[in-house]
């Protein structure tokens, strides 16, 4: 066998990822863009009526987009401060034995299937919310956001912990040598030094929340309305796709519109991913200098 052959084969197999990415973009565009033949892009993105099964269908995705953004924002608001607190604790405060237990536990929590969280939202959190706040239904924006928060805490906390760990020991020692307490060192030295990493960790958590499906499908209530309060039900893009794709005929305008919703999701998550990559690169360069 020629010594060059294995390398060529490995390279060929490696390009499978490239092929998948290209196909993914191609099929989403091919199936999503035809939606624009029947509905203007303005109506599709800014229209406030989502009645896809009526005749003629109303395909305004604004409530879905607002639904996605509101669940993501609220869950980020709940999860990011807590995640960073846990990361600070793990990296700066916790004794070794606590680290050894908590770190794997946190990682394990990241494997919790989202369907399990969605289920808990339906059968535990929803009845509780309904009773405590005297609501018509406990399946709403708040319910989904709390669960989504639980979903992204492990991701954000472990990435944030890594970026705290990456701060050189010398910086802390210098601060302690100047007489600073541990909290002062965390707040004024470690935290600013880790900031790019924390930002990137938060963005990756937000990216995950935007794309998460099962939690919102089961716990967010599913009404395609723009929420006015945190107790209103929402229907994010992901849950619209998951709930409606099975029931719509292949090739219908509704079908294409759902692929267009997928395109919007893909564009948002890719954008966030690229921004976080850029921040990570900047952060690395800073330590190099």
């Amino acid at each position: 066998m020629n010594e060059k052959t294995p390398g060529a084969v490995i390279t060929a197999i490696a390009s499978v990822s490239l092929v998948i990415m290209v196909f993914l973009l191609y099929f989403l565009l091919q199936e999503g863009l035809p939606a624009l033949r029947e509905v203007s892009i303005r109506e599709l993105i800014l229209g406030f009526d989502w009645y896809p099964t009526e005749e003629p269908p109303a395909l305004g995705m604004a409530p879905l987009i607002v639904g996605s953004l509101s669940v993501t924002a609220l869950s980020a608001l709940i999860a990011i401060p807590l995640s960073i607190a846990i990361a600070v604790f793990l990296s700066e405060v916790a004794p070794t034995w606590v680290q050894e237990v908590l770190k794997p536990a946190l990682e394990l929590l990241g494997f919790l299937p989202s369907i399990v969280l969605g289920f808990l939202g339906m059968v535990v959190l929803a009845p509780w919310l309904q009773e405590s706040f005297d609501l018509l239904s406990g399946l709403n924006l708040l319910n989904a956001s709390v669960l989504m928060g639980a979903m992204i805490i492990p991701i954000v906390a472990s990435l944030a912990e890594e970026s705290f760990q990456a701060v050189p020991r010398e910086l802390r020692d210098a601060s302690f040598a100047l007489g600073a307490t541990r909290w002062e060192t965390i707040r004024k030295v470690v935290f600013p030094a880790a900031l790019p990493g924390l930002l990137s960790a938060s963005l990756l958590g937000i990216m995950r929340a935007l794309g998460e499906t099962m939690v919102v499908l089961m716990a967010a209530g599913g009404a395609a309305l723009v929420p006015v309060s945190i107790f209103d039900p929402v229907r994010p893009l992901t849950s619209a796709i998951a709930a409606e794709m099975g029931e719509t005929p292949v090739g219908s305008t509704h079908y294409h519109a759902l692929f267009f919703a997928g395109l919007i999701l893909l564009a948002m998550t890719l954008g966030i991913n690229l921004i976080s990559m850029w921040i990570e690169k900047k952060g690395k360069e800073r330590w190099m200098a």
Partner: protein, 282 residues
């Protein structure tokens, strides 16, 4: 004095937030265990669902989940390891490598429901596989691929350079070195990465809803071109789409518990094995 007080207070807050997480996590687990344990019996694990899924067990979804994992890993593990080898051993700085890295990173961030759309349009419709085990398995494989690639590359890069140099000094070529020296040394770590991705794949629902998961199937799939029942989708069906939602609550809790035990069991094995390997290396 007040500076010290603030420092203590901050520590207390941090301890509390970590403790809260642990308490919430443990009580959720205990709650599921308490409610699910009643439903679990030998019959529950070995019988298929009966009477429009209001009675009987969950053997078909359990087997279906294993079949899906098997198909996805058959695709993702070899391709993932090969790509890891490419990045760690063969890649030269250039446009191809940069593009490929970008793709892997972006694929890792693609929402699972978008993988579902991709699987629907590529495997189910374009390649005419239909909604079946093969389509759903491959879709899950695509989702797992970036995880395995990253795990493989990290494992290969952790193999000391001396191993490679020693092999070259003995006259071995590049591929021989990779195959006989580097890959075996990295293999245990790569496998733990693969185990962890099994944990991820087994619990996924969104990618399989319209690529091959069955609402109900009377039998276990006997070919790649049949639909399969899967644990996560079964939970969703029972909890949202059945006509006896309240009546089947015990079955739902039981299924959730079984799924949790499968996913958490597999993932803990991966996490513990990886921790052991790390300690050994040190």
């Amino acid at each position: 004095m007040s500076r010290k007080y603030v420092d203590r207070l901050a520590s207390a807050v941090l301890w509390t937030s970590a403790a809260t997480l642990v308490i919430v996590l443990l009580s959720v687990m205990a709650y599921i265990l308490a409610n699910g344990a009643e439903a679990i019996s030998w019959e529950f694990l070995t019988q298929p669902p009966r009477d429009s899924m209001t009675k009987g067990g969950i053997s078909t979804p359990i087997i279906g989940t294993f079949q899906l994992v098997l198909v996805s890993m058959t695709f993702a593990v070899p391709v993932g390891i090969a790509t890891g080898i490419f990045f760690a051993e063969y890649a030269s700085a250039g446009i191809f490598t940069t593009m490929l890295r970008l793709c892997v990173r972006c694929l890792a961030g693609v929402p699972s429901v978008v993988y579902g759309l991709f699987g629907l349009s590529l495997f189910v419709i374009f390649l005419r596989f239909g909604s079946c085990l093969l389509s759903a398995g491959l879709t899950l494989g695509c989702l797992a691929l970036p995880l395995i690639i990253t795990a493989s590359e990290t494992a290969l890069l952790a193999v000391p350079q001396d191993f490679r140099l020693a092999s070259y000094a003995l006259g071995a070529g590049k591929w021989q070195t990779v195959k006989k020296v580097v890959l075996p040394a990295a293999m245990p770590t790569i496998l733990t990465g693969a185990i962890l991705s099994v944990g991820r794949v087994a619990g996924e629902t969104a990618p399989i809803i319209f690529t091959g998961a069955a609402f109900f199937a009377p039998n276990v799939a006997k070919s790649l071109f049949q639909e399969v029942m899967a644990l996560p989708y079964h939970i969703m069906v029972l909890a949202t789409a059945g006509t006896h939602i309240e009546q089947t609550r015990p079955i739902q809790y039981g299924t959730v518990l079984v799924l949790l035990m499968v996913v958490m069991g597999v993932s803990s094995v991966g996490i513990i094995a990886r921790a052991r390997l790390r300690r050994k290396r040190k």
